[in-house]
Assembly symmetry: C2
Homo-oligomer: 368 residues x 2
DNA sequence: GCTCCAGACTGAATCGATTCAAATGCGTCC
DNA sequence: GGACGCATTTGAATCGATTCAGTCTGGAGC
């Protein structure tokens, strides 16, 4: 007999903290822990009878596997990490993504952990941290770049991830994206149809992949409608709104000012409109603005804004679905989806707009 | 010799996955794991010499304790759970709280886990889940009620938590709150000074504690300034903005409409202003609105809004600080803080407002 | 009667950190 | 010289779930 420091645990029905463990169930059923463990995961070498019995008891006592135990033994954390940039003006955008992700993860054992970072330090840091310490089974990132170091890093290490936005690398990975190219193209066409001929684009940061999509779509629109561009490339949607407003006002006071603006984010539309009014121009008369929106707030204020909805809850759901798919070894082709802008919502004739809700269709088939 | 299935691990410098463990360091230093473990936490019975050596090696190899190991053995998760209601219009509010919390937690081993819930199901569910499964060391909740079942539950189980908002129970617990009573009182005074005499209040949901603070402050203001109230109690700040707008428009078209409104949230101010303009009234002339704001977006649009800043990042920091304090056993008195509204920012004379940044002082002393 | 085998089940090791109880080394004191 | 105390250090058990390598039972096959 090996000198036990204390007599072995009496195997009583429950440990002191009250939570049932495998041992509890083993004791109650008179089986061994191994059998219980295997019975709960429907292993083939356990008799159907035993499985039922074990599962019944487990349900009765409210058994839930101890996460630390599983994690220590298997390395599986049942956690997915949401990397989020904390220095942007996110405006409900984040909470919608979070909501979508958690919707998709409800009913699974997954927890969502937030890993905040600031662009002021190295964006690789949080990725490295999660991968190295294996603190999650997968990561969702946004602000994706054409050649994204994070994507390269995680791919090399075979660490599951999904990106909000696409890359331009020879790496095939799960992603979800909003089709900003179509958005910009349609926006230009819409402005052209309203007789606007001198258009500016308030684009995202040039380092991000969707900058390219948006500028390309914008250029295509210009070419198709024979309208001209008023360059407005020194300011981006993620900059502080005061800056955007000031630069916009500057633009509008210059000779040859635009009579139409395509705006890449709902938040910056506030700044645009503010600048327009500050310059004494009338939205919808002297100038039109087409913008993406994720809440109805902007349009509530200014019914004459032309808006296209971007559904971030959908994005959250799709990203979670893509990441889960990767973790479960599904083929990458199933894990890429593109959200097509539902269409441009033109301002209604009546001052009081009816609320317009748009379908957003996906190119990739949705299960169920 | 007990029949080992496989020869014992060669104790090689590192396990296959590359992460150093206590064993790795024990091997490198020639010490036992126990010594290494104790040396790393500065136990008094380890010689200074050994401590230095162990800590040096640990730093060199980039040792980080395995969270699952610690958690399994000690029950400490190093996780705090942020409960969040997913059916509100949160508008950047959430991301600011998150930012504040993560700011405070940076440099600690704590991770932030999100536990979303919908008010449509039982708000106790997520609390019970976290407490029962011990999936976090502490919880931060918001939407606090005067008699909050969650507070009672967690207190009974001695589970650490902090609330955003106060309670009215005979339970002393960590909290952070914004002084909505002072806010409302000052708002009324401000409106009275501008010659407004018929005031309405857009209050929060009556079940929440801060409904009382805000209505009391409002009532005090009324009494002090001899202005009258126009009842507007069938609508709350957290309702869908379309509803708020519609009800406000209704109110404004009624005889004896208010000439001043105090608004309890930045988001709903959008709806108020929209309704005002829709009714053909001019903000700042026919009617004044005092509102809380957490971003500058509202005021950017309507410089004539009168605003008071509410800093949610500060709230996040304070909540995290309070919860950490509780977990570390500090006295509750240190863990309660009230954010005093910095003052009412009246609209500037010039059309283009300078950005006004307000101090927010705390009644409780801040450490450091 | 014997072996062999499949089916059902289980003991014991394992993941990494903590901690109890004990061991070791060494200098002191009577 | 031997017992004692002090400062250090360490083996082994422990947390809960998983899994390798068995064991045990009963029936089939020769």
């Amino acid at each position: 007999m090996k000198g036990k420091a204390r007599p072995p645990d009496g195997n009583g029905p429950r440990p002191p903290d009250g939570r049932p463990t495998l041992k509890t169930i083993a004791f109650m059923t008179g089986l061994g822990v191994t059998t219980v463990s295997r019975a709960l995961k429907n292993a083939p070498d356990i008799s159907a009878d035993t499985k039922h019995r074990v599962q019944l008891v487990a349900r009765q006592v409210g058994y839930r596997p101890n996460r630390a135990g599983v994690r220590l033994r298997t390395g599986k954390t049942n956690v997915i990490s949401l990397l989020l940039n904390t220095d942007e003006q996110l405006m409900g955008f984040i909470s919608d993504i979070i909501y979508g992700v958690s919707q998709e993860l409800a009913g699974t054992p997954y927890h969502i952990i937030l890993t905040p970072y600031s662009a002021r330090s190295d964006p690789m840091d949080p990725v490295r941290y999660v991968v190295e310490t294996q603190s999650a089974d997968g990561i969702i990132i946004s602000r994706t770049e054409p050649h994204d170091a994070r994507v390269k890093y995680m791919t090399e290490r075979q660490f599951p991830f999904a990106t909000h936005g696409r890359t331009n690398m020879d790496i095939d990975h799960p992603w979800h994206d909003f089709d900003n190219q179509i958005f910009a193209r349609n926006a230009v066409r819409c402005l052209a149809e309203r007789g606007r001929s001198r258009l500016a684009l308030l684009a995202p940061e040039p380092t991000l992949t969707y900058y390219r999509h948006m500028t390309e779509g914008f250029a295509e629109g210009l070419a198709a409608s024979a309208v001209t561009e008023v360059p407005f490339r020194s300011v981006w949607v993620d900059q502080p709104i005061d800056d955007i407003r000031d630069r916009t006002a500057e633009l509008l006071r210059r000779a040859g000012r635009p009579d139409g603006i395509v705006c890449g984010s709902g938040t910056s539309a506030f700044a645009l409109v503010s600048a327009i009014e500050q310059c004494g121009l009338a939205l919808g008369e002297d100038i039109d603005v087409v913008t993406k929106q994720s809440t109805k707030l902007v349009q509530m204020f200014r019914p004459r804004l032309i808006v296209v909805n971007e559904d971030f809850r959908l994005a959250g759901r799709e990203l979670a679905r893509a990441l889960m798919g990767r973790i479960n070894g599904r083929p990458t082709a199933e894990l890429q989806s593109l959200s097509i802008p539902g269409g441009v919502v033109e301002p209604p004739e009546v001052p009081r707009p009816a609320t317009v809700s748009l379908d957003t269709r996906l190119t990739a088939a949705m299960p169920k």
